[in-house]
């Protein structure tokens, strides 16, 4: 009985094969990519404009290292524009405010000496306790961890850093020395 039912079903299926309609149906898409360019404006702001380096008695000592009170986040740089910018930094000799011809030279290697001082920066989030020397040449601020430049890609992006200073091995005391550090944003 089973054999009969199966064979009849098989017969019906085989007989129907030539009449099967082709129901396959396809879909199709067309796509266009639309692009828009945005205008650029540059601008940065710094939360610190002055560092009063003080040791005991509001004065600094010979051959001594000083760090900003927040070693990694003392100063915040904010992208006030919208351009993707790379940060550059440049230091300068420290000059006696009463007679700018009397100065401490900013060293270029991180070594101090007679009337030679050294300056470094540390970027928040960089390798622990890693510092990069600041010289009188404008140089790109870079992460020690990977050597990549410090970027602020878009509006309101921020980065933080701190400073470290090593006083000269010899200097004349009682003089107030002043140095300027310039941070510049350059379009990446």
């Amino acid at each position: 009985m089973k054999i009969k039912v199966i064979t009849i079903l098989l017969a019906i299926i085989l007989a129907g094969i030539p009449y099967l309609p082709v129901f396959a149906e396809d879909g199709s898409n067309g796509q266009t990519t639309i692009t828009m360019n945005t205008e650029s404006v540059m601008g940065i702001s710094l939360t610190q404009i002055e560092w009063q380096v003080e040791g005991e008695g509001a004065e600094v000592s010979l051959n001594t290292t000083y760090k900003t009170d927040l070693p990694a986040s003392w100063c915040t740089i904010t992208n006030e524009g919208n351009a993707n910018v790379t940060m550059f930094i440049k230091g300068d000799d420290a000059k006696w405010v009463s007679d700018p011809s009397k100065k401490w030279t900013l060293g270029s290697t991180g070594d101090n000496g007679k009337n030679v001082y050294a300056l470094w920066y540390h970027i928040k989030g960089d390798t622990a306790d890693s510092y990069t020397v600041v010289t009188k040449d404008l140089a790109s601020m870079k992460w020690v961890r990977d050597g990549e430049p410090l970027n602020l890609a878009k509006h309101d992006d921020t980065q933080q850093f701190g400073l470290k200073l090593l006083t000269p091995t010899q200097f004349i005391g009682g003089r107030t020395m002043e140095a300027n550090i310039i941070l510049s944003a350059v379009a990446a």
Partner: protein
Amino acid sequence: MKWFEVNLMKREMKLGIMGILLAGILALIPCLPATAQDSGTITINMTGANEFSISLTPANWSFGTVTPNTVNTTDLTQFNLTVDSTSTCAINTYITGEDAVWADDPGAYNWTLSSNEQNDIKVYVLWFKPDGGESYIPITKGQTSFYSGTLGPGDSKQFGLKLLTPQPDFTKGGTGYFSVGSAIVQTHVTISAVAA
């Protein structure tokens, strides 16, 4: 085994063989040549598939530099939708848009495509208008009918786009800007088709 049991088995086998023969005959019915008559008719039935394809040109279009909260339009003949001439059926078409993203870092900055024809901070609006059409029709992330009728093989439709950029992310010196400058913000417009 008794004789009647043998007979029963033989009968079952005969029925099975007849069933298989019947299946073979039924299967061969459409293929039997007309040998017994002077002439014969063979009826062939086939249903063609609904196959179609469309193309949208150009594949890329730039509005150039745009500023916040401004309307930008293309010519009404800027874009062209064509139904491939080898298509086998009429089609219905639908248009959709997407959020626009910063090409350099899509996860960091984007504009949402408006669903109500209103722009906002980081929200933009997109419309299309068929050549000869009366008004602009909003494009959203959901499907909107592109053409009210059906399109057949070889048909084409031209259309233009209108873009309203988002409101500024910030203002500097009295001028509004987006958060990313000298940046490329990118989106896609897709037209899809289904058999009518």
